[in-house]
């Protein structure tokens, strides 16, 4: 499975789908978050692998 983390929330999705599709499944808006895997930014078309943990970073934030 693939874990998606956004602030205090977590979701699990099946591997094999794109990051964009996974974000849509969480109900978040793809334009509002940036996906990060192992500390690195990845593009939305990246296919998720089993065991991935994706941190979704809010585009609009602090300051």
């Amino acid at each position: 499975m693939v874990k998606l983390v956004y602030r205090q929330q977590e979701w699990e999705v099946k591997p094999g789908m794109t990051v964009r599709d996974a974000i849509l499944k969480t109900g978040l808006k793809p334009y509002a978050v940036l996906p990060v895997r192992d500390g690195k930014l990845i593009n939305e078309e990246t296919i998720l692998r089993d065991g991935d943990e994706i941190k979704l970073v809010a585009v609009v934030s602090g300051g």
Binding site: L34, V36, A58, V60, S61
Partner: protein, 303 residues
């Protein structure tokens, strides 16, 4: 998805430019876009001393980083507003301090509103029965301090981290309300209209917020992630979301809206210049004010 320049995996796809880039080429692209905006709008010259207003957020820290990497004499100003009884401000100042330390101690100064003037932003807003308008009081205080520090320090201008999403959200609000005075003044550069009013520039004005956030992530810039507690639910955030929905359906809509507005404004197609108001010097601080007597900032601290 591959980087258009080198074929390595892309980290970001900017649909409005039909451009996907890897880490290295994205960082280069942000620098180039910023340099072009600085030149295009004649923001400042290579030898100018620039004061960067830093909040600890992604936009201002990324801007400071980009200006330093481009070789500009960019120094920081952090205004400690005392948000959340100081907790939020202490946290955001920590990000600024770490940023400066990691870059060999680049110069920045801190103005602590409570220490300097006796009350934090929220305290003075409440004392003047404007607690519900803390954001406008905050803006007034920040503008005054930025102008003062720029004047006293001999800076050629103040650079702020406003990105294209910030500008377009304001443009949309002003357009919907047909606020022609505000529309006439909305620009990547606000010229200095008085010796005590610093020139204000926005070098990130062509970058989407998504790109400034991505820049901070790729560069490893640690920034304050939580929204200012007073800004939660702000109208600007609502407009940003609406504009992003539009952008989803029509990539480039935000950029086109903004650039078309600037073109129309430059060509004088939309508004005639407003009559310039007569300015008076505030007898206490020396900054200009539209009515004789104390300026709005100095009146704020009167009992």
């Amino acid at each position: 998805m591959k980087c258009r320049k080198c074929g390595r995996p892309a980290v970001i796809n900017m649909r409005q430019h039909k451009l996907a880039l890897c880490e290295e080429h994205f960082l280069e692209w942000v620098l180039e876009q910023t340099r072009r905006a600085i030149d295009r709008y004649h923001m400042f010259a290579p030898d100018d001393k620039v004061l960067v207003a830093v909040s600890g957020g992604k936009d201002s820290l990324s801007l400071w980083d980009v200006l330093l990497r481009l070789g500009y004499r960019a120094e920081g100003l952090y205004i400690k507003l005392g948000v959340e009884e100081g907790a939020y401000s202490d946290k955001s100042l920590g990000y600024v301090e770490r940023f400066a330390a990691e870059r060999g101690g680049v110069h920045f100064q801190v103005v602590d509103v409570k220490v300097t003037y006796g009350m934090s932003v929220l305290e003075v807003a409440r004392a003047r029965h404007r607690g519900h308008k803390a954001c406008s009081v905050c803006g007034l205080i920040k503008r005054h301090i930025m102008n003062r520090v720029a004047y006293e320090g001999g800076y050629s201008c103040i650079a702020t981290g406003h990105n294209l999403d910030d500008e377009v959200a304001v443009l949309m609000q002003n357009t919907l309300r047909w606020q022609v005075g505000y529309l006439a003044r909305q620009s990547p550069v606000l010229p200095a209209t008085h010796p005590r009013l610093a020139r204000k520039v926005k070098p990130f004005v062509h970058l989407y917020e998504r790109e400034t956030a991505a820049y901070a992530l790729v560069r490893g810039i640690d920034y304050i992630y939580d929204e200012c507690p007073y800004a939660v639910g702000a109208t600007t955030l609502f407009y940003k979301d609406l504009l992003n929905q539009l952008e989803e359906r029509s990539p480039g809509a935000k950029l086109s809206f903004y650039l078309s507005f600037l073109r129309a404004r430059e060509q004088g197609l939309t508004f005639t210049e407003q009559t310039r108001l007569e300015l008076h010097d505030c007898p206490r601080c020396g900054q200009p004010t539209t009515a004789p007597g104390l300026c709005a900032f100095c009146r704020l601290w009167e009992n």
